[in-house]
């Protein structure tokens, strides 16, 4: 049955995201908060995370582009991104933010630029994967199955 196949695909994909370190237990917490009374919770939080992250990444780009780089501001932005990625379980983004903050402390612009690239890369990766996961969930529900979340 199509639903069964989709469920299996979801299950395997979901597991791989944890095995490869993209997601951690906090994402499971979010899943536990979704139920019939709030069936869109995960997609809503994840969407907020995407918006928030894109805003922060833009702010970081601009901040590092200044003549006089304000490292405290950069640190504040990275701290925020670290927080939100941690709250949804986006482990690799969070870890990239931790590394970034260390270089902020050192006031090393070149290293910060590289860190920003790294964070952006990790963000884009997890975004793609989460979108795929959520799409699978959508397909399952559309095919009449129960949400695997």
């Amino acid at each position: 049955m199509e639903v069964d196949q989709l469920q299996r695909t979801f299950h395997d994909y979901h597991a791989s995201l944890f095995n490869e370190g993209f997601l951690d237990e906090q994402f499971v917490q979010l899943q536990q908060l979704q139920d019939e009374s709030n069936p869109g919770f995960v997609v809503e939080v994840v969407s907020l995370f995407f918006e928030d992250s894109e805003r922060l990444l833009n702010d970081l780009s601009k901040a590092l582009d200044q003549v006089n780089v304000d490292f405290r501001k950069i640190d504040a932005h990275v701290h925020q991104l670290k927080g939100s990625s941690s709250s949804i379980g986006a482990q690799r983004v969070r870890n990239a933010c931790i590394a970034f903050r260390n270089f902020c402390d050192e006031r090393n612009i070149e290293a910060c630029l590289q860190c920003l690239q790294q964070v952006r890369q990790e963000y884009l990766l997890v975004k793609t994967k989460l979108e795929a996961l959520l799409r699978l969930e959508q397909q399952i529900v559309a095919a009449g199955g129960a949400s695997p979340m």
Binding site: N38, V45, F49, G83, S86, I98
Partner: protein, 231 residues
Amino acid sequence: MAKNGVFSRLRRLEKSEETEDFSACLDSNEVHVLAVDDSLVDRKVIERLLKITACKVTAVDSGRSALQFLGLDEEKTSVGFDGLKVDLIITDYCMPGMTGYELLKKIKGSSTFREIPVVIMSSENVLARIDRCLEEGAEDFIVKPVKLSDVKRLKNYMFGEGRVQRQDRGLNKRKLQETCDVSASPSPPSSPSPDDALSSPSPPSGSSPYSPRSFFSSPSDNPSLLNLHFD
């Protein structure tokens, strides 16, 4: 009292296998929590965590907004205060403008609101920061990211069970919660709710051997835990 309604709602809320005594929650539909966090994502999560534990939630994005809601802001008279009493305030520590610590001080400095339990949340597990907050009167300190088990534990404060232990406040708070990460942990004798303190189902964190969510057992029991640094 609509007992049937309460029980069916509570059955829906049970997401984990742990059995908990919900008899203290019969008036849970009246519990109102004011959540303060500048992060949109975190506000969304904490709001859901609180709602799923049968709390009414008002979520604001700053200490200033929180004070305005309570009617404590010097410059503005309360806009949102509709007579709905606040049973608990849960606030992030790091916020632009007014920090959670400053908000805590303002609340504890107010004769009207100082009795409201305040819980601090922070991503930084810094003992000095935790101590400072507890000394200023915070009821508890939760290390982010916040989990369902953290919020479930907070219900004790809202139903006065935590208050009864007020004379033991220092003892209860300056404790490290032993999650299932740390095996063979002895039960802390003066914990307000022994079931809650130990039955947290949170799975072991992959990144570190210990994941203290809050503070329940005496650090002198486990000196190695004093030097934990998560980041």
